[in-house]
C-alpha cells in the first residue's frame, strides 16, 4: 500500500470555516489548500486558536466547511448529508482522541468492535476482528477487561485498535499523547510509526515538537492558515 502514493487520500482546496460569535463572524479557517497522499505520516501543528482543531474536525467529517472543497478518497464530501458523513467516519476514517474516549461500561473487545456494530457486521466477525486488533496492539489478553482496569497508555492502544477495526483509509489522531507521560508517549508514537510502516496513512495534531518529530511531514497553522509545510526527512 505504501507504493500507491500517487492518488491523494485527502485534498482540500480553499477550505474556510467561520463561526458565529457574539462579536460577529469569526473566521477559524481562511482558505486552506492541502493534499495528503496515501501512506503519509503528517503532523498538524500550531498554537491554540490557530485553526488546527477546526481543520481536524473538517477532515474528520464531524463538521462541514463554510466554503471550499474537501475530497476524501477522491469524493467531494464538503456538503454531504449527516448520515453519509457518519458512514465515512465509520468506514473511511479512524479516530484517536486525546482522552482515549473508550466507553466505560464495555469490555475492551466490545469497545474495539463498536464501529463494526454501526457498519452492520455480524457478531462473530466483530469479535474475531476486535480480537485480532487487540492482539496487534499487544492487549489481546485483556480483551474481556473493562477500560478502567488498564493504564492510560494501554487505553490509548485500545483506542488505536478501535480506529483500525474498520480498515480505514486514514487515521486521525487529535493530541494522542496529550494525556500520557513521556515514556508512554514514546510507546504510542512507536506504534503509530509501525502502523505507518505498514502503509497506513496517519494525520496527527500536536503542539509538542518532539512528538511531531516522529512524523515525516509537518504542517504548521497560524491564524487559520498554513504557514509552513515541510518534510522532516525521516522518510527516504
Amino acid at each position: 500500500m505504501a507504493g500507491v502514493a500517487n492518488a491523494p487520500v485527502i485534498r482540500v482546496a480553499g477550505l474556510s470555516k467561520s463561526y458565529e460569535t457574539a462579536a460577529g463572524l469569526f473566521p477559524a479557517l481562511r482558505g486552506v489548500d492541502l493534499s495528503i497522499d496515501a501512506g503519509e505520516y503528517l503532523a498538524i501543528m500550531g498554537p491554540s486558536g490557530s485553526g488546527k482543531s477546526t481543520f481536524m474536525n473538517l477532515l474528520g467529517c464531524l463538521d462541514t466547511p463554510t466554503t471550499g472543497d474537501y475530497f476524501l478518497a477522491g469524493e467531494n464530501v464538503a456538503h454531504m448529508e449527516k448520515a453519509a458523513l457518519a458512514r465515512l467516519r465509520n468506514r473511511t476514517l479512524g479516530f484517536v482522541f486525546q482522552g482515549f474516549n473508550l466507553l466505560p461500561r464495555m469490555s475492551l473487545q466490545d469497545n474495539v468492535a463498536l464501529p463494526l456494530v454501526y457498519a452492520g457486521i455480524d457478531r462473530d466477525t466483530r469479535r474475531e476482528k476486535a480480537r485480532q486488533l487487540l492482539d496487534k496492539v499487544g492487549l489481546g489478553k485483556y480483551a474481556e477487561s473493562m477500560p478502567n482496569r488498564i493504564s492510560g497508555g494501554q487505553q490509548q492502544r485500545v483506542a488505536i485498535a478501535r480506529a483500525l477495526v474498520n480498515t480505514p483509509r486514514l487515521i486521525l489522531a487529535d493530541e494522542p499523547t496529550g494525556n500520557l507521560d513521556s515514556h508512554t508517549s514514546e510507546d504510542i508514537m512507536r506504534l503509530f510509526g509501525d502502523l505507518n510502516a505498514e502503509g497506513i496513512t496517519i494525520v496527527l495534531v500536536t503542539h509538542e515538537q518532539d512528538i511531531a518529530a516522529h512524523c515525516k511531514r509537518q504542517v504548521r497553522f497560524l491564524d487559520g492558515q498554513i504557514v509552513s509545510d515541510q518534510l522532516t526527512g525521516l522518510d527516504a
Binding site: N57, G60, L62, D63, K82, A83, A86, R87, R89, N90, R91, F95, F97, N101, L103, R105, M106, L114, P115, V117, Y118, A119, G120, R123, R162, N166
Partner: protein, 406 residues
C-alpha cells in the same frame, strides 16, 4: 445490529440499577393499578350482569288500578281492573315474548311438623320463562293445570331447605292456607336480587288455583298484575306504549280519562345499576391511567438525565460512525425496555393483588386477557412516546460539542 443494541440497552439499564428500578417502579405502579382497577371494575360489572340475568331481562308489569272508598285510597292493584282477557290480548301484541298474569302474596306453608312463611305466586307457565326460572328437580306445571286449577306447586331452594330439610320435596304434599298442594318441582337457585331479597324464597302455583284456594278474588278472572317480557331492551318503550294503548281501548277509557292501571319497568333499575358499574369501572380505569402517565413522565425524566450524562458517549459513538438514527434507536430502545419490564412486573403485581383481594374479601374480580394486552400496548406506547423526545435530543447532538463535553 438490533440485537447488539438490545444488549447495550440492557447494559445501560444495569449501569445504574437503583435508578432504573425506581423509574420502573412508576410503570409497575401504573400498570398494576390499571390491572387491579380493571379486574375490580369488570368484576362488579360481571356481578351485576349475573344478578340481572337471574331476574329476567326486559320485563315490565301492569298493575290494576286503585279505588277510593270514603276518601281512603287503596293503592295500586286495589281495584279489579285487569283480567285474564287483558293478558291474552297483550300476548297477541307485536314485540311481546311472554305474558303472565300473576297474583302474589305472603302465606304460611306447612309440611309435617315444619312451617315457613314465604311469597306465593299464582301465575301461568310463561312466568317461568319471563323470570328465567329453571327446574332442577321434578317438572313445571302446564296450561292444563291452570285451566283445571290443580293444586300443584313449584318451590324455591330456600323453601325446600326450610320446609323439607334433607327430604326430597318432589311428590310430597304441603299445605298453603290449609289447602294441600303437591310439590312437583324445585326451582334452580338465583340468589339475591338487586335490592337484597332472597329470590329463592318463593312458591309458584297455577294462577287459577291461587285465586280460588289461596288468595280469593272478588271477581273471577280478574288479576292484580300482569308481567310482560319484551323481545329486546330497545323494543321496551314501544311495547309499553302498545300495551297501554291496548288496555285503554279494552277498558273503554276516553281521551283525557286517567289510566285505571299502572305500568312499571322492572329492568330499568337493573339497567341503571349496570350503567353505574360500567361508569365506575371506566372511572377507576381512568384514575389508574393517570398513574401510568406519571410513570411515563418518570421515564422521560430519567432518559433526559441519562442523555445529558452520556453526552460524551454519544459524541464518541457519532465519531466512530453512529448515525442519528442509531442513537435515536438506542435511547428509544432503552426507554421501551424500561417501560416493558415495568409493565411486566406491574402486570404480575396487579394480578397478585387482584387475586389476593378475591381471596380475602370474596369480591368478584374478572381478569381478562384483553386487559393484559391493553396494558402491554399502553406500556410500549408510553415508552416510545416519552422516550422519543430524549432520544431525539440525543440524536440531534452536535458530535463536536458532545465530544468536548466533560
Amino acid at each position: 445490529m438490533l440485537k447488539a443494541m438490545l444488549g447495550e440497552a440492557w447494559l445501560a439499564m444495569g449501569a445504574n440499577r437503583l435508578r432504573t428500578a425506581l423509574t420502573m417502579l412508576g410503570m409497575v405502579i401504573g400498570v398494576g393499578a390499571v390491572v387491579i382497577m380493571m379486574a375490580i371494575g369488570q368484576g362488579a360489572q360481571y356481578a351485576v350482569q349475573q344478578t340481572i340475568s337471574t331476574m329476567g331481562s326486559n320485563l315490565f308489569i301492569v298493575l290494576s288500578g286503585s279505588f277510593t272508598t270514603a276518601g281512603v285510597r287503596s293503592g295500586a292493584a286495589g281495584a279489579p281492573t285487569l283480567n285474564v282477557g287483558d293478558a291474552e290480548a297483550i300476548s297477541e301484541l307485536e314485540g311481546v315474548v311472554n305474558v303472565a298474569p300473576t297474583h302474589q302474596g305472603t302465606r304460611q306453608l306447612v309440611y309435617g311438623s315444619q312451617n315457613w312463611s314465604s311469597q306465593v305466586v299464582g301465575t301461568t307457565p310463561p312466568y317461568l320463562d319471563a323470570r328465567a326460572w329453571t327446574i332442577v328437580n321434578g317438572a313445571a306445571f302446564g296450561d292444563s293445570d291452570v285451566r283445571s286449577a290443580t293444586r300443584v306447586a313449584l318451590i324455591g331452594k330456600t323453601v325446600a331447605e326450610n320446609l323439607f330439610g334433607d327430604d326430597d320435596p318432589v311428590g310430597k304434599t304441603m299445605r298453603i292456607q290449609q289447602n294441600p298442594f303437591i310439590v312437583i318441582g324445585v326451582l334452580g337457585s338465583k340468589g339475591q336480587s338487586l335490592d337484597g331479597r332472597d329470590q329463592d324464597d318463593t312458591v309458584i302455583i297455577p294462577l287459577s288455583t291461587a285465586q280460588r284456594k289461596v288468595f280469593g278474588t272478588p271477581f273471577l278472572g280478574s288479576v292484580r298484575m300482569i308481567m310482560i317480557q319484551a323481545a329486546s331492551a330497545e323494543a321496551m318503550p314501544l311495547v309499553m306504549e302498545r300495551v297501554e294503548g291496548l288496555l285503554r281501548q279494552r277498558h273503554r277509557l276516553r281521551e283525557g280519562q286517567p289510566n285505571d292501571f299502572f305500568t312499571r319497568n322492572l329492568s330499568a333499575a337493573a339497567e341503571s345499576e349496570a350503567e353505574t358499574t360500567r361508569t365506575m369501572s371506566i372511572l377507576l380505569g381512568a384514575i389508574a391511567s393517570i398513574s401510568l402517565l406519571v410513570g411515563g413522565i418518570g421515564i422521560m425524566n430519567i432518559m433526559l438525565v441519562s442523555v445529558t450524562e452520556r453526552t460524551r458517549e454519544i459524541g464518541i459513538r457519532m465519531a466512530i460512525g453512529a448515525r442519528e438514527r442509531d442513537i435515536l434507536t438506542q435511547f428509544l430502545l432503552e426507554a421501551v425496555m424500561i417501560s416493558f419490564a415495568g409493565c411486566l412486573l406491574g402486570l404480575l403485581l396487579g394480578l397478585g393483588i387482584a387475586l389476593a383481594i378475591n381471596a380475602f374479601t370474596g369480591m368478584v374480580i374478572v381478569i381478562s386477557g384483553s386487559a393484559a394486552l391493553i396494558a402491554f400496548i399502553v406500556a410500549a406506547t408510553v415508552g416510545i412516546f416519552f422516550g422519543w423526545y430524549p432520544a431525539r435530543k440525543a440524536a440531534r447532538l452536535d458530535p463536536i460539542e458532545a465530544l468536548r463535553y466533560q
